[in-house]
Amino acid sequence: MMTTATTIESGERPTGSTPQRRTERHVPAGVLGALGLLTLVVVLELVPRVGLVDERFLPPFSSMVSALAQEAGTSTFWAALGATLTGWAIGLTIALVAGVVLGIVIGSIPVVRAATSSTIEFLRPIPSVALIPLAVLLWGTDMKSTLVLVIYATFWQVLLQVLYGVRDVDPVARETARSYRFSPLTTVRTVTWPTALPYVMTGFRLGAAVALILEITGELVIGTPGLGKEIGVAQSSGAVPQMYALVIVTGLIGVVVNLIARWGERRALRWHPSIRAEVG
């Protein structure tokens, strides 16, 4: 499934973006996809073998695989993988909680919303990597340096989606809740939250990918523990196949993260019409 991470401004419905798929008449899509992957592997193997590209720059696929197998036997690799996933999970969680709570508070109170919108518009496009020098200065190569980048970048993704979601609440439902004198907490739980949930899940999906990118970037550039740092080490020691192997691993993690995020999105929104329509 090729779902794109589009965030068209001010609220294209974020879920159910997959149009109906027609089944392939001759060759099933899965077979074609597998063929595509196979082609990539063959090209990666042959191009250096026949000398189109220098082997020192692009080793054949088989040597990447054996380098990967070698890596997988070391405890350094698993420690690095663990550090990357831990940093990613912590950063994503903090950003999610902060984004959802602040998003609901800001979005629900019109004055606050109006007062903060210019500030949000200004802070959001500031590239997270601008914080790298400051983080290095304050924490050096401690995990915190990367964590700050991850949280900063992910937070905006989540916050914006939650704000769109809260804006989408049906005015009649909101007025009804007020007429019945729902407490603010009950209103959030029964009116705001169900409306905003699809947007929250979109924020989660986008945020999960961004958090991973920033986590690995931080490790690579700052040198905090993790796979990114190992890539840097492989590069500076000229271990080219290892470097490629680690890059492939980061790609695979990215694919898995995307799959999990989409699965989580569908699961949390099972009741939502956009998902039910697809299944039924």
Binding site: M2, T4, T6, G33, T39, S118, I126, V129, L220, G254
Partner: protein
């Protein structure tokens, strides 16, 4: 009148408060890491004007523009081709999913092998990062084209070129722009990262240089420049988008009954 005043106050109120807090909280700061905002702004002009603006900011921007433009052209043309053919799409989908999932900055060490550390490497880094959102969104946009229009343009025997210019590209353009907006922020990140790795000029290079020599107020001024740059580029992008997608934004506003 009171209404406009209220809006102005709401728009500028919080930013002023925040800057004021920063100004006064650090005013008598003797902490090495948090110099007074007064000092940062004091060094701002002499740090950046005019040598570094021409020598660092401009080269960075040129590389970003070159990379983004090439990624845009490549992404849209490949995206149209892939989006139109169902078989090609099925064939390439897993491969594209994989390449999209690789965090773009990890390609920097690989691209250094191929292209060295000069402009070419940096532009290629920006292309490899920017191309995916544009490509994938173009594919989705082309896929989601109105079928009635597709059939109509075929029945009227519009030439391929006419179909491309009058139906496919305009029809997919809202999606293409959504992708391009994402690409732009990825591009800015990669512009900075590639310069932090290896460079002799550029904003990223300069800021890291300041940090390593512990020129803290200058470093903060660099962070501010980078922030302003991000904001300015986002603003320019939105203006361009509003102009090119005028028809679409108007249509949507009409549909919402505004």
């Amino acid at each position: 009148m009171a209404h406009t005043l209220r809006r102005v106050v709401l728009a500028v109120g919080l930013p002023i408060v925040l800057v004021a807090v920063w100004w006064f909280a650090t005013a008598s700061s003797t902490s090495f890491f948090w110099p007074p905002l007064r000092d940062i702004l004091g060094t701002f002009v002499e740090t950046w004007w005019p040598d570094r603006l021409v020598g660092d900011v401009l080269p960075s921007l040129m590389r970003l523009l070159a990379g983004f433009a090439i990624a845009f052209v490549l992404g849209v043309s490949l995206g149209v081709a892939i989006g139109k053919s169902r078989a090609l799409r099925a064939f390439l989908e897993p491969v594209l999913e994989f390449f999209r999932a690789i965090p773009p900055p990890v390609l920097v060490p690989i691209l250094i092998l191929f292209f060295g550390i000069f402009n070419t490497m940096k532009i290629v880094v920006i292309i490899t990062g920017c191309i995916w959102p544009i490509l994938l969104n173009t594919v989705e946009g082309v896929r989601g084209l109105d079928e009635v229009l597709s059939d109509t343009s075929r029945i009227y025997r519009l030439s391929r070129r006419a179909r491309l210019w009058h139906h496919i590209l305009p029809g997919a353009s809202p999606q293409i722009f959504a992708g391009a907006r994402q690409s732009l922020s990825v591009g800015i990140i990669l512009m900075v990262i590639s310069e932090m790795f290896a460079a002799s000029n550029g904003i990223g290079f300069t800021i890291i240089q300041f940090q390593r020599t512990f020129a803290i107020p200058q470093m903060f001024s660099g962070i501010i420049v980078l922030g302003l740059l991000g904001v300015a580029l986002a603003l320019i992008f939105r203006l361009v988008e509003a102009r090119i997608l005028r028809w679409y934004l108007g249509l949507r506003a009409a549909q919402r009954g505004e």
